[in-house]
């Protein structure tokens, strides 16, 4: 009897904590989304004093119209371009490195593997300032090169591909070699077509990394023509500080796209990130 009551009590407590946590997790983004369809006077009126209408989406599209007049579209195109090129380039060079580590024993292989993994433990933001100096020295400052090329190699993704390639039966590749296929042929025609799930997860990670990058594009490519989406968003929040609804609209678009991708491929994303196969 007592245990029964205890059990019920713990379930209610669990639900209570879960719901409070969910409110904290979702409320900011939901408020941003709701307010992105309202005019500023309404937003302010509904917040102080607090009214539950602040959580009900409005119907105005003016804020969205407004941000596209302020160059948001250009930033979206830029970000798409940079992300897609990074995904393609990143998949090619990282999968090739993963193939090398999985398939061959060669001088220094363990050291190089350790070195690559370790180098990615250094947060990108820590080397952003020296990297910026380097971009100036080699003339890539304020170009697409600076936005894309330093971000291509990625230890996590090399690791992912290596793990996957190690699982491909060696006999398959040896048979192809005997049939006269080059090593590049083995990699490109046999291994890559087999590794769709890893490629999807890796591509998603590379895309999200670029879509969410802020500090690097902010310092490496300051001219407005090269602005990426997070930089424009931050710019809106200082240059157009009083125009809340447009900041919300920009946040909604910038936030929704990766969310949609992540939710569509949640399984691949989580296994790519944590290295644990999802059931």
């Amino acid at each position: 009897m007592i245990t029964h009551i205890n059990k019920n009590w713990s379930i209610y407590a669990w639900y209570l904590i879960i719901v409070i946590g969910l409110i904290i997790t979702i409320a900011p983004f939901w408020w941003a989304l709701s307010s992105s369809f309202k005019d500023n006077v309404t937003i302010f009126a509904e917040v102080a004093p607090f009214s539950f209408w602040s959580m009900v989406p409005g119907t105005s599209l003016d804020p969205y119209y407004g941000i596209f007049q302020k160059g948001f579209g250009k930033a979206m195109i830029n970000t798409f371009f940079v992300s897609v090129v990074s995904v393609i380039g990143g998949i090619v060079i990282n999968s090739m490195a993963g193939f090398a580590f999985a398939q061959f024993r060669f001088k220094g292989d363990n050291i190089m593997f350790g070195f690559i993994l370790l180098s990615f433990a250094v947060p990108a933001d820590a080397i952003a300032i020296p990297l910026f100096k380097m971009m100036r020295q080699i003339g890539w400052f304020d170009t697409y090169y600076a936005l894309i090329i330093p971000m291509l190699a990625n230890g996590i993704i090399i690791f992912l591909f290596r793990q996957f390639f190690m699982g491909i039966p060696k006999e398959l590749m040896e048979a192809a070699r005997v049939d006269g296929l080059s090593w590049f042929g083995v990699y490109w025609k046999i291994c890559m077509p087999l590794s769709r799930p890893v490629t999807l997860g890796a591509g998603l990670l590379l895309f999200v990394f670029q879509w969410e990058s802020f500090l690097w594009p902010l310092i490496a490519a300051p001219s407005p023509d090269l602005h990426l989406i997070q930089v424009v968003l931050a710019r809106f929040s200082t240059e157009y500080a009083p125009i809340w609804n447009q900041q919300f609209a920009a946040s909604t678009i910038a936030g929704l796209l990766p969310l949609i991708f992540i939710y569509m491929f949640q399984k691949q994303f989580v296994s790519a990130l944590t290295g644990v196969e999802q059931k």
Binding site: A48, A100, F106, Q230, S237, A254, V276
Partner: protein
């Protein structure tokens, strides 16, 4: 025959490896050396001409004589000591909550993972408006309970806490993901056996979950610490290090010295010091939390 085969083939793995390896050396390793080297150089702009002078450790000397640096180091220390244990315990608690079986658990988990998809600048901008002292949702909500409006980001006593809240909102789901994945790898038989032995919930956590999750927790702790050492996006967008330098962490001070004042020597000395400090802290974490032989059960 075989020997000959290998002689022709020895270069193949290096060719596959070359692009990624060269990119790693060029864009990850080399900048660290540039940073160290340039921190020993003084740059002046006399008459529009950039003059570079090798000054040994003078930049560091100036830094150590500057109260602003020590203030910044203090803020960084406070942030590090608070934010990392806070985020880790919160993610661990949340992961435990989300291991519970429920009809809605898949939906609940998905919703909790939402902040992972929301980039830090977005979270910062939206939370900046949430925490607006006059029209923010936070004060509107507090008003429901009769709590007077708080200044949040514009108060030197609350700004750092507000930034911790923003970074935690963004970070907890991400770190929880690793802990959750680690927990799911633990065989359920262990818990069933413990249940037969009459173990309580806390005992199961203490003697099964915690030891078996140790490697994951260590990884998350180290990665979280490394991330938070360079936390500066909320400072760049919202506080600019203020009010009264109360959010001026070393990473932001480095950013400001370089990009506001073009004092690259100072900027890169700070980066070098920050890198050394974070390496020491991470080394200590690995030393004290990692090498514990008794936990190597399995």
């Amino acid at each position: 025959m075989k020997n000959n085969f290998f002689k022709r083939q020895w270069i193949v793995p290096y060719l596959f490896l070359a692009p990624a390896l060269l990119a790693t050396i060029a864009f990850k390793l080399y900048p660290i050396f540039i940073g160290l080297w340039e921190s020993l150089i003084y740059t002046s702009f006399g008459g529009g001409v950039e003059k570079r002078l090798f000054v040994w450790f003078e930049n560091y000397q100036y830094l150590f004589d500057d109260p602003l640096f020590w203030q910044s180091l203090k803020i960084t220390s406070i942030l590090t000591v608070i934010i990392n244990p806070f985020q880790i315990s919160l993610s661990l608690g949340l992961a435990l909550l989300l291991m519970r079986k429920s009809r809605f658990i898949r939906v609940i988990r998905s919703l909790y993972l939402l902040p992972i998809g929301v980039a830090l600048p977005i979270a910062t901008v939206v939370w900046g408006l949430m925490l607006d002292p006059y029209q923010g949702l936070a004060n509107g909500f507090l008003g429901l309970f009769g709590i007077p409006p708080q200044p949040f980001l514009i108060s030197e006593h609350q700004a750092l806490w507000s930034i911790i809240a923003i970074a935690t909102w963004k970070g907890v789901a991400f770190w929880m993901l690793f802990l959750l994945a680690g927990m799911e790898e633990i065989p359920t038989q262990y818990y069933e056996a413990a249940k037969i032995d009459g173990a309580r919930t806390f005992e199961k956590f203490r003697f099964i979950t915690l030891p078996l999750l140790k490697r994951t927790i260590l990884f998350v702790f180290v990665a979280d610490t490394a991330t938070n050492f360079v936390l500066m996006v909320p400072m760049i967008i919202l506080t600019k290090g203020g009010p009264m330098q109360s959010t001026n962490v070393l990473a932001f001070e480095a950013y400001r010295s370089g990009f506001y004042y073009q004092d690259w020597g100072r900027s890169l000395s700070i980066i070098s010091i920050l890198t050394i400090i974070s390496l020491i802290v991470i080394g200590l974490q690995l030393l004290f939390l990692g090498e514990n032989k008794e936990d190597k059960v399995k």
